[in-house]
Each structure stands twice: as structure tokens, then as C-alpha cells.
Symmetry: C4
Subunit: 217 residues, 4 copies
């Protein structure tokens, strides 16, 4: 395992997991639509009404699509901060991808049961927990990378500390959303939408010890 200082060169391990991740992201995001089933209506019923009644499915589709899209965008610049990798780092990333690839399922559950008064609470708890999982895995990957010196040593310590704080706060908010979902499902969803909205904003530029800043796009 060689050490690279050049920010444009990466350990081959991080490149490979990066390419594989891009594939999984692209597939998971495109599979989301499969879960919105075509409604079966007879000639007497209204297809229009049936399509309108699918609004929770559209809502869940949009929410998860935007989330996976943002996560994909961030994942790329996230990986650029690791200049080395090892076997456990690779495996932790497989576990992270497992959480991302799982998202279509809680999304489908939310889409199916959000407008069902007796099942809404369960569906939202399940969805928020499904969102908590990749956030926790992301934090774990970050913590592992920091602990084992895989992170670019030229990054400013204040910047890495800030990221640790941000990732931890995100996990904290998701935990809050899961807890809230047990008695206020819509408030929990509002938190989820809020987190997604915050991540939709432009990320902070990367800061180096040298004082250099690098925009993330």
C-alpha cells in the first residue's frame, strides 16, 4: 500500500471501489421507478384517480432519487479525501453500498403505505431507519479512515474535524427522525426532507494545511 501525496493520484483500491460505487448508485437510483407498480383498474374505474392516488409513490421516488443523487455527488468528493486504502476499508465500503442498494425497498414501503392511516407510522419508521443506515455506514467509513491514517494528510485538521461533526450531526438527526416517526410520522418526514434540502446546498470547499481551498463539484 503506497502513499500518494498528489491529490490527483489515488491508491488503486479507492479508484476501484469508486467505479464500482458509481455503478451501484446508478442502478439503485434507476431501479426506484420499478417499485411504482402500474395500477390495475377496470374499464369502469378511473385510471386518472388511480394515478393520482399513487402520489405517495411519486413523493417517495423523488425524495429517494434526490437523496441517492446527492449521496452519489458527495461520495465522489468524499473518496477524493482518502489517499490510501486497505482491506477493511474496502469491506466497510461494501457494507455502505449495501445500505444504499437497500434504499429502494424502504422507499417502496413508504410509497405503498404513506397514505394508509393505520400503517403510516410503521412505514415512516421503516423509511427513516432505512435512511439512518447509510448515514451511519458513511460515518463509520470516515471514522475508520481517520483512525487508520487513510485520509489525505494535507487536509486542514479543522476541515476534517468539521466533517466529523457534520457526519455525526447527520446521524444524530436521522436518529431523532426515527424516534419522532413513532408518534409524529409527518414531522419525522419533514426532518428527512430538511436534511435532504441541506445536502442539496453547495458543499463547503475542501481546505488544505497549505491554505489552499478546493471547490467540490
Amino acid at each position: 500500500m503506497r502513499l500518494w501525496r498528489d491529490t490527483h493520484e489515488h491508491d488503486e483500491g479507492t479508484q476501484r471501489i469508486g467505479a464500482f460505487s458509481d455503478g451501484v448508485y446508478a442502478i439503485a437510483i434507476t431501479l426506484l421507478v420499478i417499485e411504482i407498480g402500474v395500477p390495475a383498474v377496470s374499464s369502469e374505474e378511473s385510471l386518472g384517480t388511480a394515478l393520482r392516488d399513487l402520489w405517495p409513490g411519486y413523493f417517495a421516488y423523488i425524495l429517494s432519487f434526490v437523496t441517492i443523487g446527492i449521496s452519489w455527488a458527495n461520495h465522489h468528493s468524499f473518496f477524493k479525501m482518502f489517499t490510501r486504502s486497505d482491506h477493511h476499508f474496502l469491506m466497510l465500503n461494501v457494507l455502505f453500498l449495501m445500505c444504499i442498494a437497500f434504499l429502494p425497498f424502504p422507499t417502496a414501503v413508504l410509497g405503498e403505505y404513506l397514505d394508509n392511516d393505520s400503517q403510516r407510522q410503521t412505514a415512516v419508521v421503516f423509511y427513516t431507519a432505512g435512511r439512518l443506515a447509510p448515514a451511519t455506514a458513511w460515518l463509520t467509513v470516515w471514522a475508520y479512515g481517520n483512525w487508520h491514517g487513510l485520509v489525505d494528510e494535507d487536509l486542514h485538521p479543522n476541515y476534517t474535524r468539521l466533517l466529523t461533526l457534520q457526519y455525526s450531526a447527520t446521524v444524530g438527526l436521522y436518529v431523532l427522525a426515527v424516534a419522532l416517526a413513532f408518534w409524529q410520522p409527518y414531522a419525522a418526514l419533514a426532518i428527512i426532507v430538511g436534511i435532504t434540502g441541506l445536502y442539496f446546498l453547495p458543499p463547503r470547499p475542501r481546505r488544505y494545511i497549505s491554505g489552499e481551498m478546493e471547490d467540490l463539484i
Copy 2:
């Protein structure tokens, strides 16, 4: 965010979204077939008749496949005109991809209900609206890129004006098709087929201020 003048070099952000888009396109286009379900017939019924009755499914498959294929081909040369990118540009592209990745659903609805006299109108309205969405997102990406100076400054202003006109006209035709679908579904579909046919023609070569022309393939 650096500025590149060399048309073969791009901002890393546009390259990344380009590769991701290719993935989403390839998956969305290949998922279309999944929506044509195998008909369930008993030994007494005719499988031949059942397969023939799926013609709206085949029609919808071909129409959407060709559309996504053309959009993919155009998307590539579209992206070559942007020499810079920023966070909002990236996010607008995620929204555009959300519309492309959604297409299998209206395609499935059209395939299921096109030959149903009482549901045809709704199915066609839904499908044309599903086609309007990515066209509008495309125009938005283009408008944003122009407004924020992300477009290659060496392109001839007449050429970029022409594209603005073309993208706006496409959106206008789709709006017309959606409106028409409410009382003449087949006429609306004819417009959709017509737009697809027009985009099947070779695109105009890119024109530069220097007088240079570049074929788009």
C-alpha cells in the same frame, strides 16, 4: 472552478455527471422491457392472441427506447458545450436524470391502457406529460448554463440562440401534445412520434465563432 478553452478538456464536474448519466440512460433504457409482463394464459386460451394483444406494450417500448436512445446521443454532445460546471448545474442534472429514469413508468401505463377505450385518454395524457418533464428539465439545464456562463464561449452566438429556440420549441410541442391528449389521444401520440422522428434526423453541426463547424455524432 477553472475555465477550459480546449474543447477536448472538460471541467471534472461535467465529466462525472456525464459518466453517471450514461449509466442511468443505459439502465433506464434496458429496464423498459421489464414492464411488458409475460401474459398468463391457461391451456385453453391462445398465447398467440395474448402476445398480439400486447401490441401497445411493444409500441410503447419502441417509442420510449428510441426516445431515450436519441436523448442519450444528444446528451453527450449537449454536455460537450459546457466547459465549466457548478453545484447547482450538477443538481439540475440530477433532476433531469430523475425525469429520464421516471420514463419507464409512463411507458408502462401507456402500454397497459392504450387499447382500453375508457382509459386511453388518461394514459396518453400521462405519457405525454412524462415526455414533457425531461424536455423541460433539459431546457432548464441549458438556460441555467447560459445564464451562468458555463457554456463554451467559443460557440457562435447564432448557434446557441438556435439551440435555445429549438429546445423551447420542443417544450412547446410537448405542451401542445399534453393539451391535445385530453380530447384527441391519437393525434397527441402522432405529435410525440413526430418529435421523436425529427430528433432521429442528423443534428446540425456545432458552429464556432472561429467559423469552424463540428459534426455531432
Copy 3:
């Protein structure tokens, strides 16, 4: 549209459609398994019997997987023979991919109805026709490329003539299989298996005017 003589450099158009094709191939081949549905058996019935009864599904899966795999391998070396491309060439390739991406559907029909005495004939006709389609599209792409001078001019004319013969013969055999399927479904399937087996053999090395030979792998 520039002309390249160097066999390692390609027109950008052929490279792009090549990468997109690889994506569509990889997705279509991996989607095949989705069409084998998990059998629903009660606790009194035997899951073992139900899984055994799915043999036509496994057979169809293997036959189509090997076919798409071989087609992918050949497609790559096929594309290496084109040193130029144009808009219609690109669009013909989109139509070819449409036929490849459609294969999971006739595969699913064959897997569902091959062991149904009253539906076998229809299922096999449909499957063989589904195999005829990409073979015909492939021949069309080849004929178009030859007609419009997109093929590498350094290839030996005997070699290109041989390929024209081979592709035409393949289409002929598929037409025969479709016709035969109307009264001898199993014989038609045997022809299909035979064609697949022939293509499983190592392809003839590419022959150049210079006398050079190049193995295809």
C-alpha cells in the same frame, strides 16, 4: 467526420456507442434472472417439485445468457472494424440494441410456456423471432457500414465478404428456425442451440490487405 487508419484509434462516435452498448449488454444479461419468478407453494406442496418444474426457465436463462454473452464478445470486435461512424450508423446501432434489450421478454415467454403442450409452438415461434430480430439488425448495421465506407479499408475484401456471407447465413438459419417452429418447435430450438454453439467456437482471425492476421478475443 475524420478518417482514421490506425486500428487502435476510433472515431469518437463508435467508441461512445461501444461503451453504451457494453452497459446495455451487461444490464440485459443480468436482468434475465429476474424473469424466473420464485414459485409460490403452500406448506403441503413440494418446493423441490416446483423448482424442478422451472426447468424451462433455467434452460431459457442459460440459452439467452450464453447468446447475449457471445453477442457482447463479438460486438466488441465487430465495432473495431468500423473506423468511421455517422448519425444513421449510430441510430441503427440504437435499433440493434433495442433488439438485444428486448430479449429478456421472449426468454421469459419461452421459460413460462415451453413445457405447456398447447402453448409450446407459439412460445418457440416468439422466441426464435426474438432471436431473428437482433441478427437482422446486426446484418443491417454491417451492410450500412459497408455501403457507406465506414469499414476499415485495410481489411482484406475476402474477409469482409466472408463476414457478409456469415451474417446473412445466420439470418437465414434464424428465418428457417422461425418457419420450422410452427410445426416442429423442438427442432427449431435445436437449430437455435446449434447456432449458439457455432458462435461459441473461436471466431476466425481478422485478415488485413497487408496479409496481417489479428486474433479476436
Copy 4:
């Protein structure tokens, strides 16, 4: 077919099958979630209970995701050991990928019937056999490559012998698991989990004749 000694250069054939394999891996791993169907519950039933009852589906998802993820990671470094390729090698790899792409099906069967007392045995036999298939194909690819001199000649013979032993032992353990599954399904699953766990550990560094070692990541 040229011979490369430089470990960073590969025969084009191995690169192509490598890229195609990455695609199939990424798609197969992401399709796993599709097989966990959203439970259909009425307003009187508990969605929470229904989601809990899906635990065999989650277990099968995790087990197969981790397995495919590890296999992907190993496949990459596996391919780096082959410095040449030929047509049969390519075709054997297509067959190997056929086994990998098939995994979502036995995974779905296991997820559906693991908690069904009368079907558990069949489901576990089917799943373990589904795991045996790619392990056997992997060993076959390796044996073929060794037999036909496609393997990097700079690798230390002790290292290649060790790998032959390891791959054979893995196949042997899977055969044992299949046999055991007929009367002790849970014990067979424990062996499967154990093999997965062993492969989760860091792989042995590659050893060369020159004495050089190369970490696999």
C-alpha cells in the same frame, strides 16, 4: 495473442471481460433488493409484523450482498494474475458470470422459504447449490488458465499452488454444505456464513518469483 510481462499491462481480452464483469457484478448486487417484495397488508393487519416476518429476506439479502461484494473484490485481483487470454478463457468467464448473475434467484428462494418448516430444507439445498456453482466455475477458470499458460509466469509457484488448494477447498466446503443441507439446513447455512466470513478477511499478498510481495486491495 501477445504475452505481457509488465504486471500493469494486460491482454486486451482480460481487460474487456474485467470491465464487463464489473458491470454484471454491480447490477446483480443491486438487483438483490428487488426480490424482497413489499408485503401486502390490509388496514387491520400490522405492517410492522409483516416487515419483521421478512427477516429471512433481509438475511438472504445481506448474505448474498456481502458474498457478491467479496467476489467482486477478489475477481479484480484474480484477473490481474492472468497476463494472456484466449477465446475459451473468455467463454469460461461468461459461464462464471452466468453463475454470479443467477444468484439473485436462489437468494429470493431462500428469503421466501427459510422460515417455512416444510420447505426450509429444499430452500437451503437450492441456495447452497446456487453458491457452489460460481465457486466451481471460478476453480474451472483458474485451472484452465493454469493449464494453458495464461497465468503470470512471474508468480511464485508456491503461491499459485496455494491458490489452487484454496479454491479447491472452497468448492469442497460448498459440496459439504449442499450435502449437509439435506438433513441439517441450519448447519449448512452456518458453513456458508463461515466461508463468507473467511473470505471477508484480508487476502494473502501476491508472491512473485523475484521475492516481491503485492498486497491485494
